[in-house]
């Protein structure tokens, strides 16, 4: 089926109920992709977050969804505006890889793992069950959410597409 591919940029949220839309992040590294899906409405949403949480240095931003802890509530709110009931929404979590391996960049080494922890915590606090999770590792991924049926497709570097139905 030909789909309408909609790339989700860093710090961006896209919510769609168009059955032919697919929401996609190409080359996801230490960032996380948080996907929410409401099966009864065939409504899907995706967040592409870069950092776990805001610090005082970053208080001023036009891009609150670059932070995991701010982006996930914003994504859920966008889903609710489209009619989603929280109790029907399921979550998927991808990314959080460690792309750098040199110990001289200590802060950057753990950013992927910290993003995953922040996402797990935020989803738990909002009562959203994680149905599918593909996180960690040492290389990038491409993540695609098919809005029509909620199917999640993940392709890791040099691997074939992994389908998580």
């Amino acid at each position: 089926v030909v789909t309408n591919v909609r790339p989700v940029g860093i710090g961006e949220i896209i919510v769609s109920r168009e059955p032919l839309d697919s929401l996609v992040i190409y080359g996801l590294g230490s960032c996380v992709a948080v996907c929410l899906y409401e099966p009864s409405l065939r409504l899907g949403g995706m967040l592409h977050a870069l950092l776990p949480s805001a610090t005082t240095a970053s208080a001023s931003t036009m891009l609150p969804a670059k932070y995991v802890d701010q982006g996930i509530p914003l994504l859920l709110e966008a889903m609710r505006r489209e009619g989603a009931k929280r109790s029907n929404v399921v979550a998927s979590l991808c990314g959080g890889a460690q792309i750098l391996s040199a110990t001289s960049f200590r802060d950057l080494l753990t950013i992927g793992a910290r993003n995953v922890l922040a996402a797990e915590e935020s989803l738990r606090r909002l009562g959203l069950p994680i149905q599918r999770q593909e996180t960690g590792g040492r290389s990038g991924r491409t993540v695609m959410l098919m809005v029509g049926n909620g199917e999640l497709r993940i392709k890791a570097l040099a691997e074939s597409t992994l389908e998580l139905a």
Partner: protein, 196 residues
Amino acid sequence: MRQTTIWQGVMGNPQLLEGALSNTAVKLSAMVGQSFHLDALSVQTIPLGQLPRLLGAPDSEIVGVYLQIAGALHGQALLIFGLDDAQHFAHVLLDSTPNDHFQLDELECSALAELGNLMLSAFLNTTAVLIGAQLRPSPPAVMVDMVGAILEVMATSVAEVSDHLLVIDTLFTNPRQSLRVRFWVLPDPAELPLAA
């Protein structure tokens, strides 16, 4: 009145930038043993959301050599190679024979890392002399991964203080061999008056 930062002084001086990058081309040519030219130089401000698409398909595989800048100025640098060019550079540097499959071994990664170290050092040395301050590169790290995943490393360091990246983007080419390497220098946005 807002005081001009050192980075602003560097960015606002095209002769300084061109001089530092021309010296980088000279050092690159000497190390590789082939003539490289400073083919394109631009300073770009890129919104975070557009970053993964900046170098073409964000899921295509590239080689990046990552370094950080310390001393009187702070920032990041990245050497960007296509897979074929990375392998070619490594084989020229090691005087070895290319094989059919792309796979960089430890020695080849070390050669590319050293190239990154040399190029950023050349840029920083010229800049340091012209601004009269000390600058030094971090040890380099080589990444072989998707474009998007590598560029997220750069974005992570910047996004704490800005929604944009300021990039000094340079392309060095060797027309005879059709070799090219892209060289990015990213000033720390905390040292520039960039709006969020």
